[in-house]
Subunit: 217 residues, 2 copies
DNA sequence: GCTGCTCTATTTGTATACAAAATTTAACGT
DNA sequence: ACGTTAAATTTTGTATACAAATAGAGCAGC
């Protein structure tokens, strides 16, 4: 049986990621404890862990609230993701096996087919988002750098909370899928400069799509 | 008065960073608690916090040990630092004020003077290392990206623990100081590509100096 | 001598109790 | 009516108590 603290951590985490208690809501230790039928101790541990990941803010003697982000945060995050995921491509390309390339190609195909179907947005977009995450996650895994993976993971929370994928325009979606395909082609050709460049552009394009203008001075 | 948990956290942290209890030593909660005259609760919180930062490893029901790193970890870390600090230079250059440039120049001068004096290594190297950290930290601060700073900070622990600066050769030290000077010149000229390129080379040079050959396949 | 087992002792995980701090509420004076 | 101060309540921080899990010592069997 898993530790209670871990269970609590996961519950609060998914609750935040699903936006179920957003809006800088206060997270009172005892309330959470009684609502789960446990003591404050594991709740406390879970909250501290979430604080370390940046999903909640804690102030001394004043408790925890779910963290709040603004446009500037999103800009920072996509900036860093573009750098780090591009680097992941660079590392992954010379290590990529034929099977891994094929795996990525299959995801590309799935996403392209999904984009063509005329399902309602409510079912199509989450399916696309899920595959998008698998695609990016796979490349990060292929980079074989544990720390790189950890750094990116902490950055990814915020966009998920803000559910950015909802605002993608059809043209942007097409461009995004084309980027994916091009990244795989570059990796297949063993061209890490190509692959990492496209990945950089891909993430920055997502940022511009979500935030509007690239850099309002 | 600050929280006990914070005090404990800082104590264990500096103990690890000074290498006072390295070697994957076990950190038993009760032992630490009685040695500090407090209860297990704040010790536990401090250990979890250190675990989140990667300074200790905790296994369920098996407690915490100070984390252990190998050459592969160092390679990963310097790789990521080269990417992230280079990006910091890119962001910092267009934002740099005259006063900030002068501050960096002064540190360069101090380090150059320190390198020329004939003090014994035991006093000279720590002084150089301290200024080196200020130099890099200032540029990161100038980048004005909170998250970038946080990411780099978590990466820096390990090299400090391993006290890498001890192995620098005189020639490498000279090259390193020259890099610093060149970075400042590039920032002064407003040339962010130049600045970030030199920073990238600077960190990778440090990696090669410490790890020997650049990339043994 | 070595391997595997049981039982004990240590150590972690969780619950509860109490103290300190902060927030809310209420009372009071102007 | 307003602001200020002082209780009262809530909530966090720490200590202690107990349960569950792990590690280690000692011993049986080969």
């Amino acid at each position: 049986m898993a530790k209670i603290a871990t269970t609590v951590y996961e519950q609060i985490r998914t609750a935040i990621l699903n936006g179920e208690l957003s809006n800088s809501e206060r997270l009172v230790e005892e309330d959470l404890a009684v609502s789960m039928g446990i003591s404050r101790t594991p709740v406390r541990e879970a909250l501290r862990r979430l604080a370390a990941e940046g999903l909640v803010d804690v102030s001394p003697n004043r408790g925890a609230r779910v963290a709040e982000w603004d446009v500037h945060d999103l800009r920072e995050i996509f900036d860093l993701r573009s750098i780090l995921e591009s680097h992941a491509c660079e590392l992954a390309t010379p290590r990529a096996s034929a099977a891994e390339i094929e795996f990525l190609e299959n995801i590309c195909t799935e996403m392209e087919e999904l984009a063509e179907t005329d399902l309602s947005s409510e079912t199509r977009l989450p399916a696309l988002a899920a595959r998008n995450r698998i695609f990016h996650g796979k490349i990060i895994e292929m980079s074989n750098s544990t720390r790189l993976g950890l750094l990116i993971e902490t950055l990814i929370h915020v966009p998920i909370v803000m559910q950015t994928y909802k605002v993608y325009s059809p043209e942007a979606l097409q461009r995004s899928l084309h980027h994916h395909r091009e990244i795989v082609n570059a990796m297949k050709a063993g061209d890490e400069v190509w692959a990492s460049s496209v990945m950089r552009a891909h993430v920055l394009a997502a940022r511009e799509e979500i935030l509007g203008q690239p850099d309002p001075a």
